[in-house]
């Protein structure tokens, strides 16, 4: 984790940023940055602070949540803090209410909580948002537990940087969120912020701040949110089912086989050996995927693969090393044709292994 520490912004950096802020409103029309402050005030009231188990080492005991109904449904991320028997919800005015867990989605790591109360401020769930890169956003959360008193959460501004698939690392483990997320250009995903709300400047819900993860591509912290359509399809059915208060929480991921867990990507279903491609022995940490040899008369030879070619893409997925190659091959569908892009000298060649490599006997 040393790299993560190193990569954190410094206090000095932020102090200078602060100085630059008043300039923002000056040069151009302020519309990208400004928001309806009444709406901001309303949204702040609907973002709650959560406290529960955890607090050991890196595990957070504190988080954020979004009130999505007047009668106390709260959306948040599936956090270790929820392992507490009765997670505690704190409203902006300091009111404390114990919550129960209604349901979770263990794949997408979402949770729906319920507090027994009425006439609470809330944000409307929306089935879709039509967001795209460059759109301005506001992010609401209790990041760093800064709003620990009888006070409202924090709001930040930024834009949607990208709407993209997230390949990330949580600690040393891979964290793959199925589907697209909203990548943000604001520093939103800090400790305690997960479960906070992302809205447009008019206060309409766009998504929910995700957990702290690092990008697998860049090894830097990612600021992202789970989009509102995912939130809607998770929470809406649970909210409409009136269930017994004492019922055990439902795991949507298990209940719905279609939600499925991500495909097992560790077992190679296809082996290039069958196509006649011999690779270097996988001895190094990161063995380059060079073709060591091609069997005479094989599919690979017919397709024009040669020794010393470097495999750079398989079906447009970048191949970093032999382990990567195995992972990508393993993730292919049974009947998916394999297209390999080879780097030979300074030329790129694309070959199709027409007759698919025979699968290992199963």
């Amino acid at each position: 984790m040393t790299s993560s520490k190193q990569a954190r912004p410094t206090a000095v950096a932020w102090a200078v940023t602060l100085m630059a802020v008043p300039l923002l409103a000056l040069p151009c029309s302020a519309d990208l940055l400004s928001a309806d402050t009444d709406r901001v005030h309303e949204t702040l009231r609907a973002v709650v602070k959560l406290y529960g188990a955890g607090g050991l080492g890196r595990i957070e005991s504190q988080g954020s949540g979004i009130l999505v109904s007047a009668d106390g449904f709260i959306l948040t991320v599936l956090n270790p803090l929820l392992e507490s028997a009765k997670p505690l919800v704190v409203l902006d005015n300091g009111r404390r209410i114990e919550a129960r867990i209604v349901g979770v989605d263990s794949t997408r790591e979402l949770a729906l909580l319920k507090v027994e109360a009425e006439d609470l401020p809330f944000v409307q769930l929306r089935a879709s948002s039509g967001t795209r890169a460059g759109d301005p956003i506001l992010a609401y959360s209790n990041c760093f537990n800064i709003a620990a008193g009888a006070e409202a959460a924090t709001v930040q501004r930024g834009v949607i940087a990208a709407v993209a698939k997230l390949r990330a690392l949580q600690g040393f483990e891979r964290f793959s969120y199925p589907g697209r997320v909203l990548v943000l250009d604001a520093t939103t995903n800090n400790p305690g912020a997960a479960g906070g709300a992302i809205t447009d400047p008019r206060g309409r819900l766009l998504g929910m701040i995700g957990k702290e993860v690092q990008s697998a591509a860049t090894r830097t912290w990612v600021h992202y949110a789970i989009p509102c359509d995912t939130l809607f399809s998770f929470a809406q059915p649970l909210m409409s089912q009136r269930r017994d208060e004492n019922a055990a929480p439902i795991d949507v991921a298990t209940a719905d086989p279609m939600a499925g867990s991500p495909r097992n990507t560790t077992i190679a279903r296809n082996d290039l050996k069958a196509a006649g491609i011999q690779l270097l022995p996988n001895l190094l940490d990161r063995t380059p995927p060079f073709v060591d040899g091609v069997l005479p008369g094989s599919v690979a030879e017919q397709a024009g693969v040669r020794a010393d070619d470097l495999i750079v893409f398989v079906n447009d997925r970048t191949i970093q090393d032999l382990n990567d190659l195995q992972t990508v091959l393993g993730s292919l569908e049974e009947d998916e044709p394999i297209t390999i892009t080879l780097l030979r000298g300074d030329k790129l060649l694309t070959v199709e292994l027409a007759e698919k490599a025979e699968g290992t006997s199963r």
Partner: protein
């Protein structure tokens, strides 16, 4: 998670304050649309770079090996990216254009100063975006950062403003848009869709390729002016872009301090080729007035090797303006070694002795020889380009930078005409160096491995003696000739009230021949001055050395003690003729660091540093006017001995002459007899040419 994360959040709370009630729909917002248009305009010029294999660690940073971003700079397949993106040295680089076409790319060149890498792919007709004129870039204007890491089709967007122009000594534009490996190599775009610059990690704290990564997403990000990149492109296509060096140093590095006189002119540097000397003042660079050290850095830091600078220099109230190309690398001076012990008292260069096993011995030089002329020859054209030299006047130069400037720099007083060596008195009147110093300067320029031809007077006959200069020996010769001092009375003198605080031990009567000095900084368990004097006496006489010692005024060494030491040395310099090459500062255990600090502050007065089980062992630059030889000793039972061994290796690598090694510490009294004798012999060696 970590404490550093707490601060940004607090500041962000404040950052969110300037929200005003507009109630405008962002979808119809003019700025939102302007941003979208600007992005669309530049997007076709933003490429994705994918790499295969490579190192996972860059310095101390664990680097992601995912895709990165590049920006098209030339229609014929020219792409610039951040050097960080390729620092893992991938086996293959694939560029994906915005239209989906993929090309293998080759690395053409790197710009060290701005950490850019130029790539080329076999394509043509690529869209080069419009640059924003650098002069028109203003703080506060919109700045949009684009990257291709998140998607191969649409660029990712971060919106901010220009925070500063000409940051990091004029190298970069600063922005508060979120800059990270997500968009390093991508363009920073203005609201009109012109490219302000190419995004890179940079840091005022370091020049390594990953320096600046620690500021990712912090609100401090940097971009290299796109207009500048385009203007340099033809140079970049042909060659590596290296930082340019002038070769000048000043007393300190405080950027706000007023610029004093030049404290050091680097050996064979561009500025040395102009004849500029220590003590001259720099008034202007490229027409910009230089008042403070910071101005100098701002004027020079953005420049590249071979850039020609215009320099206004002042000496004795007279101004001169020069033009000189900067160098990519300053040559490292290595002390040459012939093994000739010379007689400083006589006019001419009289050989007093020859070190056994030395190049001088191999050349057949003998005690009693008088060196008259020295001829140097250019190694490339040995016959035609050879030139005869008196060991006087300005030595010939062999630096390629000096070609054409070899005669005289405009500030030089002019080369000495050939003439008999024994007219040295004239030179003395003018404050010219004596013959030994001049011969040493010729050797300095020839460097180890170089050849000279000496004209030697031996018993009335004139001989030509070819000599190949060597390196300072790696082992102390068993025998070094020495000429002992005539016996006489010596006295121990305390120059401060407390007896052992500052003292010297020297002959009572005047001495003609230049002496060396053993200048000891007292370790807490050192013997008394009297005991030291008694133990060293035979070595002092044999090798013509004085002994002096200083202890800390207070309980611990302080900065003011360096001044006291300087005064004590000055006193000896006044009383005796002193050979600075043989002024030896000694530090042991807890006085090592202070001895070293004294030497670093008095490089021109000290020629040797003895560190016994102590010192920090920093490695300063070598310089012919600041010759320094090291004697580094460590006890067999010193737990840090491997550190000393490594430091000695490091110093040798930096071309410093180093001797010493393991010390026998069985003797109850310091210094043990064998150590005294070895240091005595070494004191002769470091005084040899």
């Amino acid at each position: 998670m970590t404490m550093t994360r707490t601060l940004p959040a607090i500041v962000l709370l404040l950052a969110a304050i300037p929200l005003t009630a507009q109630g405008q729909s962002p979808e119809t917002s003019a700025t939102r649309e302007a941003v979208a248009r600007a992005v669309q305009h530049v997007a076709p010029s933003v490429v994705r770079i994918e790499t295969t294999t490579g190192m996972e660690r860059i310095g101390r940073v664990r680097k992601g090996l995912g895709p990165s971003t590049g920006t098209i700079v030339g229609a014929d397949g020219w792409i610039v990216s951040s050097s960080f993106n390729l620092a893992h040295r991938p086996a293959g680089i694939i560029v994906s254009l915005a239209d989906g076409r993929k090309f293998p790319a080759r690395v053409v060149a790197q710009d060290d100063t701005r950490k850019l890498t130029l790539l080329n792919v076999d394509a043509s007709g690529l869209p080069v975006p419009t640059p924003a004129p650098k002069d028109a870039i203003a703080s506060g204007a919109w700045a949009i950062a684009l990257g291709k890491v998140w998607s191969n089709t649409e660029p990712s967007i971060s919106v901010g403003i220009v925070s500063a122009v000409d940051r990091l000594d004029g190298r970069a534009i600063q922005t508060d848009a979120k800059i990270s490996p997500t968009n390093y190599g991508g363009p920073l775009v203005d609201i009109e869709g012109r490219v302000l610059g190419v995004l890179v990690p940079l840091s005022p704290g370091g020049d390594s390729v990953e320096a600046g990564l620690e500021w990712y997403d912090s609100g401090i990000g940097f971009a290299i002016s796109f207009e500048e990149i385009l203007s340099r492109l033809d140079r970049f296509q042909k060659d590596e872009l290296k930082r340019g060096y002038l070769g000048v140093a000043f007393g300190g590095k405080n950027r706000l301090a007023e610029l004093g006189p030049i404290s050091r002119v680097a050996w064979h540097s561009p500025i040395a080729s102009l004849g500029v000397q220590r003590g001259d003042r720099i008034l202007a660079i490229n027409g910009k007035t230089i008042e403070r050290y910071g101005h100098l850095v701002q004027a020079l830091r953005p420049l590249y090797a071979n850039d020609v600078v215009t320099l206004t220099v002042e000496r004795d109230g007279k101004r001169q303006t020069h033009e000189v190309p900067l160098a990519a690398k300053l040559p490292v001076y290595e002390r040459p070694y012939a093994g000739v012990l010379v007689d400083h008292a006589k006019t001419g260069v009289r050989v007093r002795g020859v070190v056994p096993g030395s190049p001088a011995e191999a050349a057949g030089l003998r005690a009693g020889d008088v060196i008259g002329e020295v001829k140097t020859s250019d190694s490339e054209e040995p016959s035609s380009n050879s030139q005869a030299k008196k060991p006087s006047g300005k030595p010939p130069s062999n630096s390629p930078l000096d070609k054409g400037e070899q005669k005289d720099g405009p500030l030089d007083k002019g080369e000495q005409k050939d003439g008999p060596l024994d007219k040295g008195e004239n030179r003395k009147d003018k404050g010219e160096p004596n013959d030994v110093v001049t011969l040493a300067k010729v050797f300095d320029d020839v460097q180890p491995g170089g050849k000279v031809e000496l004209t030697v007077d031996r018993e009335g006959k004139t001989l030509a003696v070819p000599l190949t200069l060597g390196r300072f020996p790696l082992a102390l010769p068993e025998e070094v000739p020495s000429t002992p001092l005539a016996p006489g009375e010596w006295e121990l003198k305390s120059s401060e009230a407390e007896r052992d605080a500052a003292w010297s031990y020297a002959p009572k009567t005047a001495v003609k021949e230049p002496l060396g000095v053993l200048f000891t900084f007292r370790a807490s368990d050192d013997p008394t001055a009297k005991e030291l004097a008694e133990r060293w006496k035979p070595v002092l006489e044999k090798h013509r050395l004085l002994l002096a010692g200083i202890g800390p005024k207070a309980k611990r060494w302080q900065r003011s003690d360096l001044e006291r030491a300087s005064t004590l040395l000055e006193d000896l310099e006044k009383r005796f003729p002193i050979n600075r090459d043989r002024v030896i500062v000694v530090g042991r255990t807890n006085s090592g660091a202070v001895a070293e600090a004294f030497v670093n502050a008095n490089r021109r007065r000290v020629g040797g540093l003895v560190l016994l089980d102590g010192g920090r062992l920093s490695s300063p630059e070598t310089h012919p006017d600041e010759k320094l030889a090291y004697w580094i000793g460590w006890s067999t039972d010193n737990p840090k001995k491997s550190g000393f061994e490594q430091a000695a290796q490091r110093l040798r690598k930096a071309k410093h002459p180093v001797l010493g090694g393991e010390r026998t510490t069985t003797a109850k009294t310091y210094p043990p007899a064998d150590e005294r004798q070895r240091i005595g012999r070494w004191s002769e060696l470091i005084g040899a040419l």
